[in-house]
Amino acid sequence: MISQRFIESIVGLFVLIAMLALLVLAFKVSGLTSFFPGKGFTVTAYFDDAGQLKIRAPVKIAGVQIGEVKRIELDPVTFKAIVTMRIYKKYNDIPDDSSASIMTAGLLGDNYITITPMYSQAFLAQGSQIQYTQPAIILEKLIGQFIYKLGNTDKEEQHEKP
């Protein structure tokens, strides 16, 4: 016969494990809030168009993840997207004149930010802003422009014929 005290402590442990699982489901899976901000520094960048960029999308240099997107807001004056990124602490030697661009992984994939390093001797630090940015490439816009151009060339040809 197992003692009552042992049973009570095991059941307590069981409840604790389940509560831990609930916390994982709440914060890690459904992203209620990000609970444990890791070590790093935040950098902001203004984009004309953030496209389908999402919170927690990766920030990369040369395809290697160096941080993630923390916040996406709208600037009320310029109507640009302010993207706040958290860069991991160990990458503290990125030149501050680097440019940031929003790229798409594959044709239908998700957006991520690529930082192209330049040659300045000053480095990005907590709160600094990336000056040179390239907005997201929106596929629909590109297709629209392409079709518009096709239409124009057709018309020009028609004008030339008579």
Binding site: F14, K28, S30, G31, K54, R56, D110
Partner: protein
């Protein structure tokens, strides 16, 4: 002709009587005067027997179901170049459906059958009648702790199952197939809603917990007091519980998707 109609009527009356007996048992369990000093230790023992001892099978099956869903989902999604959506696929299917349903079916097999056999044997060996002779209410002493233990364990087991399944999907998707960690979690967090998906899954598991333990306890309490009777009761307990889970799951899903 008349005889067959009579047989049908007798069958119907017997079935209704069974439902009535089960309802009365549930009423007695729910409405009996609780004696907290005595019944809480008894219930904790049952949480140990039904919940803690089921943890191993729940953890292992959760891990493997998560891994299998991730593997299957990856190969289908990769055809459309949408492998990044693996996180949402696994998380939604597990928290909404697979978690509560599979946990409840495993629980019916692991704990429900044991409950039925235990109570049935107590009845066959006349332990329940001797308790009544000693003025100990078997409902309070035996049935009620087992019922509440099962109802309490079920949502906790579902939570553990969900977390393990998603961890299994992470192992396969990120560690093995090489998806991006950030994309995996960010897509998942983007599409999984805490209240609509996680909490609704837990509500389902509470309902399943009530139904599974109710059926198990009733089948045991109402078993024929013979060896064959206990065997039949145990089989019925698992079969009826599994059918009830699948049927109720459809009804609950329909209610939840249409917003009650």
């Amino acid at each position: 002709m008349i005889a067959s109609i009579t047989a049908l009527g007798r069958l119907g009356i017997n079935e209704l009587r069974e439902f009535g007996k089960a309802g009365i048992l549930l009423y007695q369990v729910l409405c009996c005067q609780p004696n907290y000093r005595k019944s809480i230790p008894l219930t904790l023992q049952q949480v140990y027997m039904e919940g803690v001892l089921s943890l191993l099978i729940i953890i292992v099956s959760g891990l493997f179901i998560g891994m299998v869903v991730a593997l299957q989902g990856y190969h289908t999604l990769a055809k459309f170049g949408a492998a990044q959506q693996l996180g949402p696929l696994v998380a939604l299917s597990v928290t909404r459906e697979l978690g509560p349903v599979v946990t409840a079916i495993l629980f019916a097999g692991r704990a429900g059958s044991a409950l039925t056999a235990e109570i049935g044997l107590m009845k066959a060996t006349e332990q329940l009648s001797s308790m009544e002779m000693m003025a100990v209410d078997p409902i309070r002493q035996i049935i009620s702790p087992r019922f509440w233990g099962g109802v309490f364990s079920m949502p906790l087991l579902t939570l553990v199952f969900n977390a393990m399944a998603i961890y299994g999907a992470y192992l396969v998707g990120v560690q093995w197939l090489g998806l991006d960690t950030g994309v995996f979690w960010s897509n998942m967090q983007d599409s999984v809603d805490f209240y609509a998906d996680v909490i609704n899954g837990i509500i389902k598991s509470v309902v399943f917990g009530i139904v599974v333990t109710w059926i198990a306890v009733y089948q045991g309490y109402n078993a024929k007091p013979t060896a064959a009777g206990i065997a039949i009761a145990t089989t019925h307990s698992v079969v009826y519980a599994s059918l009830a889970i699948l049927g109720l799951d459809f009804i609950l899903t329909a209610m939840m998707i249409r917003g009650w």
